[in-house]
Symmetry: C2
Subunit: 198 residues, 2 copies
DNA sequence: AAATGACGTTAACAAATGTTAATTTCTACG
DNA sequence: CGTAGAAATTAACATTTGTTAACGTCATTT
């Protein structure tokens, strides 16, 4: 309970929307979770309302389609939040799977517990809005990219904005997050390189 | 100030997370806004932090790309919220334009005023989380569609889930929201019809 | 009634992507 | 060190989409 939470603590304090003293009950409800590479954090059908802050590692959220293929919704790494959005927002079993792609360390809180803490400490409410806004901003950026950019341009943008992730994750996950097949991503990369060398 | 707000009022009361009596200061800060078809609600570069509930009509949010083309991010109609997300979440001038496609009636509140109301009435805070979650859920659905479905499948899904909108809006806006050109959407429709008749 | 302009459709061609399968490269494990 | 399995690349072909332009339709205006 509440161990290596320095980074999260300093993040929340930078918000300076909540007095640090008020945060004690929040951290008392958290726990540290460690996952090995390849380990599943949330399964399809899970009903737990998990919210977590990534201290280290990468989590992939994906759906299994009718034909059995997997579609990656997003990748999150250290410094970001992940939430089981089907269970938290929609209050239904998760259609999505969350799996660690590297050894991962998270600070987890159950959303039901969080709501209890917020009920008893209303001054912490801005924190909920804060992470909801963070996730909404990222989601809208993603939609904007799908609507305004070609697959190649989306890949270049991803390289530019999150190049670290691209090099830590197998290409097939990058491809499905961009909405294309691994074969097509390979051709896109070839095209970029051939243009770059000329 | 607070005129025909029946639908919004009943919506908020169904949440029963906030006592109806507490909502008076909220509605006191709202105002009714009417737009004619074609009228712009938010311009590129605007800094106002507008949040609105649509009682009637359709609003299109779109970006103007480098080549001058427009890309529709989303369409919202009666019963939905729209928010100037660049100004509210990112605290920067809006890169997006919000324009009415039909004569539109909205209940508007400035987000700065809303935050003032929430500061003085902390029991209203769940309302902020509520509409943030609504918009996040819609955004994630949109991403899911881009990642798991082909353009044709996305169009069929849109017909199924929001067929009313499709018939109220020019096809070119539907096309750009699906991430394809109007020419391609026309071919998709032809393909669907030819398959349907056989 | 004629003219204008926006919108959707169609055509023709280029370019990109999907699909399947073979091949190569890389990694992990014995 | 060698092997097995996963991942990435490449090839070949079908399908889809982008692009440009022409054409038809419809509504509005003059």
């Amino acid at each position: 309970m509440a161990v290596s939470i320095e980074t999260l603590q300093s993040l929340l304090q930078q918000l300076n929307t909540v007095p640090p003293a008020d945060m004690a009950p929040l951290f008392a409800a958290t726990r540290e979770v460690k996952l090995e590479a390849g380990e599943t954090y949330i399964r399809e059908g899970d009903t737990a309302r998990k919210l977590a802050y990534l201290e280290k590692g990468i989590i992939r959220a994906y759906a299994v389609m009718n034909n059995g293929d997997e579609a990656t919704l997003f990748l999150r790494c250290e410094g970001q939040f992940i939430a089981s959005h089907d269970t938290i927002i929609r209050q239904r079993p998760s259609r999505f799977i969350y799996r660690a792609l590297e050894d991962t360390v998270m600070v987890e809180i159950d959303y039901d517990k969080l709501e209890g803490v917020l009920r008893e400490n209303p001054r912490l409410e801005p924190l909920r809005s804060y992470f909801l806004q963070l996730m909404l901003a990222e989601a809208l950026d993603s939609i904007e990219a799908f609507v305004t950019l070609s697959p190649e341009e989306r890949y270049l943008q991803l390289l530019d904005s999150r190049g670290d992730i691209v090099n830590r994750v197998p290409d097939k996950y990058i491809a499905s997050m961009l909405g294309v097949t691994p074969v097509s991503l390979s051709r896109i990369r070839k095209r970029i390189h051939s243009r770059g060398k000329q």
